[in-house]
């Protein structure tokens, strides 16, 4: 990647808390992140690690019992962390930062045709004259890979299959002409063939519309395809961040090791699949030391006492683990994840070549 990159969004020491039945849950615990213009960043981590909450703060979409209790979010010269009113957010939502959610049905209005919903976005965010809107909307529907867009324009969401609906949601997001597109588990509800197509589509749209994208997922396999950089979240913190290659081929944090080891593609038939023991920490309580220590069989003593700082592995790669301290004993990553480099595609390309015809290339 380029070394002199323009930062489009800059988060510093972000803290997010939720009030819940008289108790306080500390969901984001001091997270900093620079998002570079034009990059595609993936945020991975298990359920409850704070991925969604983190990105919701960029759009003022936290549930009403949640609030930013510290830190800053710089965007376009403004500190979004200090926004308090919907009026302020109106300029950001959609037009600057747009979001695609896991369940397409929740983001679509079942009572309005798909075309109407895209036109509304065009009107609001692009100030487009009415005459041009229909053509523009059809063009976008075509861009997201919907066949017969002229006909589909006047259909309702329920007339689309799950995969097609997700394309419509993406079409609406793109119609707003955002700078940053956040996709929160955009493909979890879809099956693998459709998932692969949607990821492919998102990559194309990113080029065509000059987008900066953030993907959120708990499936590391999905991000190998789409991410320039990967941030690994655990218990409300980014514990490791680096380029896609760095995180897959040279991971440093024991939690990243565990996450990679859980990939089914690394399993061996007849043997137990790797699983992370225990449960993540309860964020109602103060977390001491390295939050992953209780689940890490090789944790050091200091892991239970003191929170590790970030150690730099390369200018683009850092991790919060005491293992990178010069005084730490040498601990090797598990054998299995070293095989990642040698993974073969499940479909043997040579075998496919022997077939005259067969499935056609995309």
């Amino acid at each position: 990647m380029d070394t002199k990159q323009e930062v489009i969004l800059s988060v510093r020491d972000l803290e997010v808390k939720f009030n819940l039945r008289g108790k306080v849950l500390h969901a984001i615990r001091g997270v900093s992140l620079d998002l570079y213009k034009g990059e595609s960043l993936a945020i991975v981590g298990e359920s409850g690690s704070g991925k969604s909450v983190f990105v919701k703060t960029f759009m003022g979409l936290l549930d009403s019992n949640g609030y930013v209790s510290g830190g800053s979010i710089e965007y376009d010269g403004k500190n979004l962390a200090q926004y308090t009113q919907d009026k302020q957010w109106r300029n950001i939502r959609g037009g600057q930062i747009a979001m695609v959610l896991q369940d397409p049905m929740t983001s679509l209005n079942p009572l309005k045709t798909v075309g109407k919903q895209i036109c509304e976005a065009l009107k609001l965010h692009r100030n487009m004259p009415k005459k041009q809107m229909k053509d523009a909307a059809i063009e976008i529907l075509r861009d997201v890979g919907i066949p017969e867009p002229e006909k589909r324009f006047s259909q309702y969401p329920h007339e689309f299959s799950g995969g097609m609906r997700q394309r419509v949601v993406i079409a609406i997001a793109v119609a707003c002409n955002p700078k940053i597109l956040i996709c929160d588990e955009p493909t979890t509800a879809l099956d693998v063939t459709i998932q692969a197509q949607i990821l492919h589509l998102l990559k194309e749209l990113k080029e065509k519309y000059d987008l900066t994208t953030i993907y959120i997922t708990h499936d590391l396999g999905v991000v190998a395809n789409v991410a320039d950089r990967i941030a690994v979240m655990y218990a409300g913190d980014i514990v490791e961040i680096g380029t896609c290659e760095e995180v897959f081929y040279n991971p440093q944090h024991p939690y990243t090791w565990a996450l990679l080891s859980s990939l089914p593609q690394l399993g061996v038939k007849g043997q137990e699949l790797f699983s992370i023991k225990g449960t993540p920490p309860n964020l109602f309580y103060h977390v001491e030391g390295d939050a992953f220590a209780p689940r890490n069989p090789q944790a050091l003593n200091i892991d239970f006492k003191e929170r590790p700082p970030y150690f730099e592995v390369s200018p683009t790669h850092k991790a919060r683990t005491w293992l990178l301290d010069p005084r730490a004993p040498k601990v090797e990553p598990p054998e299995s994840i070293r095989n990642i480099r040698n993974l073969k595609p499940l479909l043997n390309p040579d075998f496919v070549k022997t077939a005259a015809g067969g499935a056609s290339d995309e």
Partner: protein, 314 residues
């Protein structure tokens, strides 16, 4: 697998139709397969291809409109005696697809897990019932205290295990697991899969495992059937299917599996299945055993091509 395979379930020319006379929709069309005792049989295919419908036809929730289903050689589809119905309810259990939607939100775990026992021949005493609940919860790694809680107080993985516990309490021989892990986090997925394979070893269970993700299926199934729009297109030993996937739809499924390796994944070719490549108008396909244990839906010219491919592979 061992040599003396014992047939447990036979599905013959199964057809399931939905809708009324004017809007008829065939969700399952001429589907045939056998499942042997002790094996894990996988059923994969895209959303809406009819996987759940087949599972529900086997446990007799969905009425069938054609073909028949045999269990241990006896017909279990259509009209059967009350006694047989009760016995089958015990022997064949289904773990349902969506752990969020399939548990009764207003009932406590204690009732949810033992619900099936109430419908049996012999109602257990309250003491036996409590003991059975405790045992099956511990089988799936849940604490006995959990029995007094409600489903919404559990995580996704725990709820999925509650679903498994309620199947296990019936001491079934055959379990239909409908996407038991798709909705789960990667770290919990492995836990549930390990649990299912441990139970299989301990109890000699037979599984019909439904999923759309072939990467997981590879590690847990002995054989896999691929379904597309209600029809089986290929059926084969798992390892062989990965080595010699003949049907273009099977190939497309395999090509779509994400490869967690940034360099090879970015180079990977995605295949898209286009059903119009088949020229079936004058030359319809048949379900043919192309090599021992390897079935495929194809017409004569296609079979010829596939045979040549297999020859080259050796």
């Amino acid at each position: 697998m061992n040599e003396k395979k014992e047939l447990l379930l036979q599905v013959k020319h199964l057809e399931v139709t939905f809708g009324n006379r004017s809007h008829k929709f065939r969700a399952v069309d001429d589907v045939s397969f056998d499942i042997y005792k002790g094996e894990t049989f996988g059923l994969v295919g895209e959303s809406g291809s009819g996987k759940t419908t087949i599972g529900r036809a086997i446990i007799r929730i969905n009425p069938i409109s054609g073909g028949e289903i045999l269990y241990k050689g006896e017909r279990i589809s259509g009209k059967i005696s009350r006694k047989k119905d009760k016995a089958l309810t015990r022997q064949i259990q289904m773990i349902f697809q969506d752990p969020m939607a399939s548990l009764n939100e207003r009932a406590k775990v204690d009732y949810i897990v033992s619900e099936g026992l109430y419908s049996g021949e012999h109602r257990p005493s309250e003491g036996d019932r409590k003991k059975a609940v405790e045992e099956s919860l511990s089988d799936v790694g849940l604490l006995p205290e959990f029995s007094s809680r409600f489903p919404h107080e559990f995580s996704g993985g725990q709820r999925q295990r509650i679903g498994i516990a309620r199947a296990l309490i019936m001491e079934p021989e055959f379990i239909i697991a409908d996407e038991p892990i798709s909705a789960l986090d990667v770290s919990i997925r492995a836990q549930v899969l390990n649990l299912l394979s441990r139970l299989q070893k301990e109890r000699g269970l037979t599984y019909l495992f439904i999923a759309h993700d072939l990467s997981v299926m590879r590690f847990i199934t002995d054989r896999i059937a691929v379904i597309h729009k209600g029809r089986l297109v290929e059926l084969c030993d798992t390892e062989r299917l990965f080595a010699a996937p003949l049907h273009p739809y099977t190939q497309a499924l395999l090509s779509a599996i994400p490869l967690p390796d940034p360099i090879s994944e970015k180079k990977k070719k995605l295949l898209v299945y286009d059903p119009s490549i088949h020229k079936y108008e004058d030359n319809p396909p048949t379900w043919t055993e192309i090599e021992p244990g390897h079935f495929i839906l194809a017409n004569e010219p296609e079979l010829e091509k596939y045979r040549r491919q297999l020859e080259k592979l050796g």
